[in-house]
């Protein structure tokens, strides 16, 4: 099957809570790493070396395998200036591309808007998870948010109405039909309700059509990526998927917690890409993993505190695998308040994907011109 004229698709995987990039992709030959991580460090003999300087944490072995196949780009030192070390604020900045003022318009929603300016396909952007992330929020841009694909829908939880559901949904549609003279808010509610219903109607077909021999694990991230796969494989025109996983906020007892998160996430990602391979549908999709910031270089005895510079990962058959950028120095004189200094603006990564993968103009979406990477 040729995939050349299929629309490009982006899956955003948000590692909520600040993943410890220093313990994910590790400068394993730098003695400063071992000095700073006496308690939550990965022992040297367990490292999965990439080259003479960098290694994967062994819990990311499945990602290492994809890396060795040339499908994984590691973007070192990503972040932005004056990192606030607050989860919420930092996540807002990644979501809105507004580090200096409070933004409310999501970058991914702007991507959806520019992919489908008339808002014709309410499934152009799909969030898999609870609540809509700010990255996907923008007034007038319909986005579908699905917490559980199997049970997704309007009026899904009402007890005892299974028989009548179809009819009740028709009633819902008519209740939300244009009502003359009731005012703009009523009209807006009507439009939003009808869009949501349309999205729910179409998306419900996805799990019914979906078949795969891949047995995903019974973990939240596997479940979410399986839902992404089943919507993606149903060819509903979705080009932006969003899902979040975590929390990676490992202040305390980090090693078992981070190991479990990474193990589950790596398994889910490899199952996901195997699934696409089985359906010969992997060529026009990439996955971007990001987190709001990296963690403090020196561990705190059992975990790590909030840091600044972190890392992002892009995975896909058509991604030029390898390492991008410069890993920030661990030398004390190069740290800012004990944290790695970010050296690559995250808006450059967004711009790269928006421009070179999705073929849109990144400037209005990220709010300026930023250095792009040679990712594809």
């Amino acid at each position: 099957m040729t995939t050349t004229h299929k629309d490009p698709v982006l899956v955003v995987l948000q590692m909520t809570g600040a993943n410890d990039y220093l313990n994910s992709v590790i400068p394993y030959t730098d003695p400063l790493y071992y000095d700073n991580r006496p308690k939550v460090g990965v022992p040297e003999d367990q490292m999965l070396p990439i080259d003479k300087e960098m290694a994967f944490n062994p819990v990311l072995a499945p990602i290492k395998k994809l890396y060795d196949e040339g499908k994984v780009a590691l973007i070192h030192g990503i972040g932005y200036e004056n990192s606030p070390r607050s989860h919420f604020r930092s996540m807002d900045i990644w979501h809105t591309c507004e580090p200096d003022k409070i933004g409310t318009e999501g970058w991914a929603a702007k991507v959806v808007r520019d992919l489908d300016p008339t808002g014709e396909n309410v499934l152009k952007g799909v969030n898999v998870g609870q609540g809509l992330p700010r990255a996907l929020a923008l007034k007038g841009v319909p986005v579908t948010s699905v917490s559980n694909l199997e049970s997704y829908g309007i009026l899904s939880g009402v007890p005892g109405v299974e028989q009548e559901r179809e009819m009740l949904l028709e009633r819902f549609a008519r209740m939300y039909s244009p009502a003359i003279g009731t005012g703009p808010t009523m009209d807006y509610l009507g439009q939003t309700g009808r869009d949501a219903l349309k999205g729910a109607d179409v998306i419900r077909a996805a799990p019914a059509q979906y078949q795969s021999t891949i047995e995903y694990a019974d973990t939240p991230i596997s479940k979410n990526l399986r839902d992404v796969a089943s919507v993606y494989l149903a060819d509903l025109g979705t080009q932006v998927f969003y899902t979040a996983y975590g929390s990676f906020d490992s202040h305390f007892n980090q090693t078992p917690m981070h190991n479990q998160l990474c193990t589950d996430m790596s398994r889910a990602i490899t199952d996901f890409f195997d699934d696409l391979k089985e359906h010969d549908a992997g060529d026009n999709l990439i996955m971007m993993l990001f987190t709001e910031f990296g963690r403090r270089v020196m561990d705190n005895g059992t975990g790590t505190d909030h840091g600044a510079g972190g890392g992002a990962i892009v995975i896909g058959n058509n991604v030029k695998g390898g390492m991008y950028g410069v890993y920030p120095s661990l030398k004390p004189e190069h740290l800012t308040e004990g944290d790695l200094e970010p050296n690559y603006d995250f808006r450059g990564l967004y711009s790269t994907i928006i421009d070179k993968w999705l073929s849109l103009d990144p400037v209005p979406i990220v709010g300026g011109k930023y250095e792009q990477l040679d990712l594809f």
Partner: protein, 467 residues
């Protein structure tokens, strides 16, 4: 027995001045009378507070916990169960007006302290409230007044005090901001004590005379060696302040206005209503209790039924109050707080100092599906005590035609006014099975199920989104 009009008016009052009420409560309040109910609501401190012993036994440490969601859960508990509903509603109003966010404060216990201050001072003079706000540690940190020093001012607090908390843009100059900021130098919190090894210490307000600029300032045409209190004294005498507070109260309690940043270029929905509130402000020297009394007893309030889109907190607390499945302590309040998050209002964490955008902007596709499913699931479940009480009330009317049945269903949820599209569908649904009857056990079962489906549809309607 209370007439439908009296019930509708009381339900309106309780949705706005509280988080809604069950039919039984409405009937009891109608018996007491409208104005007497307003008096009760605006004098919360005459009534016993929520039983904090019970609350802390079942939700130990939730209020003041380091976790945002625990505080949100405790607040949901108060919204649903407080015998002083307007006290909680005012706290929510002030949380939206003086939006202070965990995102930066990073200290949920200090936000709990701020909310307690709102409960204590929410019914007094606006002047005193602003002074308390200026001394509130979470606010000082949120707007950087601890970085506002003699000879090196930080304008953040001074600016927002004027722009967002009292007068609104266009009513002062940049110089006024600088002069106000000078007056608040030295209003600070002492250096924080590290959490390790003894745990978290509360922050506290401290006036540091050595860091205070005692020089002469000129602020809004007045000149003197002003301190922060003096600045607030001047602010509260400005006509713009009375007008700004009046518009905020109107926007929160009466009817949705355009978003706050547009207020200086868009006239109010109802200028006469704003004038009436301003007059009461002037007459009483900015006494919030008196302004609320004037507001709730006014015709413009009584006529503004369903003129506001419910905020997520209002929708969630109001729906569970009707469904009756959260009476008193128990598990599940965390889920209610999370439900508010998913619907777009994370308590303790407004998106910015400009707070949440309200009205129609509460709604997007994801939020609407959550709102509809949350409400329909609860109000369609006839096994829940509040819904069962609705069923029993309808049952007591005996056999009903489809039209009567729809009327009754709308009466028990609200009473709710609906548009023609909604009513038409409800009628179609009711007509499907003819008259409602309760003659046999099978009839009763079917009738109860039919009522459940109708109530779910009502809860799923556009009309239900309005308070």
């Amino acid at each position: 027995m209370a007439s439908r009009d009296e019930m509708a008016l009381m339900a309106h009052l309780m949705r706005r001045a509280g988080f809604g009420a069950t039919r039984e409560e409405l009937e009891a309040r109608v018996a007491v009378g409208y104005e007497a109910t307003v008096e009760e609501l605006i004098n919360p401190h005459d009534h016993p507070p929520i039983d904090e012993d019970i609350m802390s036994r079942f939700m130990p440490g939730f209020e003041g916990s380091a976790l945002v969601v625990n505080n949100g859960a405790a607040w949901m508990y108060r919204m649903v169960n407080s015998p002083r509903p307007l006290e909680e509603k005012m706290a929510l109003f002030l949380h939206q007006l003086f939006a202070t966010g965990f995102a930066k404060v990073d200290n949920a216990p200090e936000l709990a302290v701020q909310f307690e201050m709102f409960r204590r001072h929410g019914f007094g003079k606006f002047r005193d409230l602003l002074v308390e706000l200026a001394k509130n540690p979470a606010m000082i940190f949120w707007l950087d007044n601890h970085g506002n020093h003699k000879g090196a001012i930080n304008e953040n607090w001074g600016r927002e005090l004027l722009e967002l908390f009292s007068m609104g843009v266009g009513n002062y100059s940049e110089d006024d901001i600088k002069e106000a900021s000078r007056a608040f130098t030295g209003w600070t919190i002492p250096v924080k004590i590290p959490q390790q090894p003894l745990g978290r210490f509360f922050w506290s307000f401290e006036f540091q005379p050595e860091d205070h600029d005692y020089g002469e300032k000129t602020f809004l045409g007045h000149t003197g060696a002003f301190n922060g209190d003096d600045i607030i004294d001047i602010i509260v005498k400005q006509p713009a302040t009375a007008r700004f507070l009046a518009r905020h109260l109107y926007n929160f309690f009466v009817a949705d206005e355009v978003q706050v940043p547009a207020w200086n270029i868009t006239p109010p929905n109802d200028p006469d209503a704003i004038d009436a509130l301003v007059e009461e402000y002037n007459r009483t020297d900015g006494d919030i209790r008196c302004i609320l009394r004037a507001l709730f007893n006014s015709d413009f309030f009584k006529n503004a039924r369903f003129a506001k889109v419910k905020s997520p907190a209002e929708l969630v607390a109001g729906t569970v109050r009707m469904a009756g499945n959260y009476n008193g302590p128990g598990p599940g309040y965390t889920e209610l707080a999370m439900e508010c998050n998913y619907q777009g209002q994370e308590l303790l964490n407004p998106p910015s100092v400009e707070s949440w955008h309200t009205g129609a902007e509460w709604i997007d596709g994801g939020a609407l599906v959550r709102r509809v499913n949350f409400s329909a699931k609860l109000l369609g479940d006839t096994s829940l005590p509040g819904v069962q009480a609705m069923v029993q009330h309808i049952k007591a009317q005996g056999s009903l035609s489809p039209e009567q049945l729809v009327d009754q269903c709308l009466a028990v949820i609200g009473p709710l006014e609906v548009n023609d599209a909604t009513r038409g569908e409800l009628l179609e649904q009711a007509r499907q099975s003819g008259d409602l009857c309760w003659d046999t056990e099978d009839d009763s079962k079917t009738s109860e199920a039919r009522i459940g489906v109708l109530l779910a549809l009502v809860a799923a309607s556009r009309d239900y989104q309005f308070a």
